[in-house]
Amino acid sequence: MTGELLLEVKDLHVHFPTPDGVVKAVDGLSFKVHRGETFGIVGESGSGKSVTNLTALGLIDRDAAEVSGEVLFMGHDLLKMSNEELRKVRGKDLSMIFQDPFSCLHPFYRVGDQIAEAIQCHADLSKDKVKARVIEMLDAVGIPNPTERARDYPHQYSGGMRQRAMIAMALVHNPSLVIADEPTTALDVTVQAQILELIDNIKRDFNIGVILITHDLGVVADVAQSVMVMYAGRAAELGSRDQVFNQPLHPYTWGLLESMPHIEQKGSRLVPIEGSPPSLIHRPSGCPFHPRCPHRFEPCDKQIPENIDRGGGHPDACHLSIEDKKKIWSEREQRRSRVSA
């Protein structure tokens, strides 16, 4: 499954100094993304999933943030690049799809022209070639009558079509890696499925890597091969989809899975995770999840758990021993199936 290594994030920290204290949006994060895989990043709002990727692309205010670590994209550290070097990577080898297609396209420019701009800023092509490429891309993402629709303004598109146009824009230069930041959150459920399928098809047809950022475990379960669960700017757990969904190791992941509705468990109550996400300025001591964790024990409020791979390429950050984890999870699973039975 694993192709060429595209992106390697090593010990990334992104801190924003504010008058109220330092916001530690990302606090020691490492992961790898390969060609041909969809890498899902899951976490609730404020867990640092978007900041991680905006930092990689240099789309955060570099002056306002303290960034350390490495973000190696095809061997080059994006964090060390000048703005101009980064610009040459953005939209060419590494492109991004954003959450809200309603606000992500400029309302005053025609959709086709906005895609044409994306082509022209990295390639010197004749007008006719650019136009042909725009129409080709709109067609590839499933916009009907692409020649006519290219002349439309964004407000004349539906939400799903705008997201398709955004995807077309992201793909014009056959990038190696596409970062999709909550690409379906703002869309209707039926359209969500279409867009996810489109992203999945594109990944396969173009043989690219995709980072799919979402707060929706269902989305990840559908299309991702690897999953990273983020909590308070750190990776709680990182593994293949099967590992994370079938043998989850982190109590936070357990909570997420249990709070997800299952169609076959009709009638059972969803189990919410108690408490609320921690302040990123005044983090809890020790493990950031310990105040909400039902399995916390003696070291949890004192020592920050290291992210350790206990074999199987499935690292997690939790003080519980692997045996305890397995035991607790199987108990929780049994309890859940009993309730639903």
Binding site: F98, S103, C104, F108, Y109, E117, M169
Partner: protein, 316 residues
Amino acid sequence: MLQYIIRRLLWSVVMLLLISMIVFVIFFVLAGGGREVAVRMSGKNPSPRNIENTIERLGLDQPIYVQFGKYVWNALQGDLGRDYHNGLPVTSQVLSHLPATASLAIGASIVWLMIGIPIGVISALKRRSLMDRGAMLFALMGVSLPTFWLGLMVVFLFDFRLNWYVVGEYERLTVDPVLWFRALWLPWLVLAVTQAAFYTRMVRGNMLEVQGEDYIRTARAKGLRERSVIRHALRSALTPVVTMYGLDVGILMGGAIITEAIFNIPGIGTLTVSAINAANFPVIMGTTLVASFAVIAANLLVDIVYASLDPRVTYS
């Protein structure tokens, strides 16, 4: 589109009718009724016979709505009545004062755009820099300095001290362009300072707001050069400026009373002031109608232009 313009034009006529009705009623009440008007219209120390003649000639004994109807009918044919004092047609007086006001308004508006937009944009791009702080100080001062004070100060400085300017030299552009410019450059600046300050703040605010928009992030994410990203931002940030600009120029076309008075420019403002001082009601009516017309026309123009700038706006 054409349908929209026609509909708006018809509404403009209704608006003008309403305004003239209000002004007409005020005029009659203020003037003290038809007899008082006749007294004023009959020259110095008129005899009762003269006054009766005037009343009859102008139909001042008729009901007010008949007189209003006549006024409107005449106005539609371009006749705004006659000056109380010199008996000249109001229309020709207003028209002869219009070029000076138009020169002042349009010239000043170009100056304030040339100051306000670049400073506002640079200020937003170099936020919190020395340049930005300086620009904001200028904006604060510009907004705070009253025109009557600033105008008098610059006249004192440039006319009395430095002899770079002479008040009251105004000549029409078509007659003597050099004199025209020499008389207008300083009032342009004075009038532009306050407006430029407003525009600077507006443009800066718009730019800062737009820079936080998702589509600007998209523009960066697709790898556009910073100059193109700024172009995207400007397109959004400057569009509302068009609206403000049109309305401001429209309002100024009704006469920049203080500036015209200080620099002794024979425009609508000066005409209005002297008419008010002399209780010269037909002239007041005339300038008021011209001012209203300018504002209404500017509004219409702005709406048409705006709809062509923002594709989301439709004519309906």
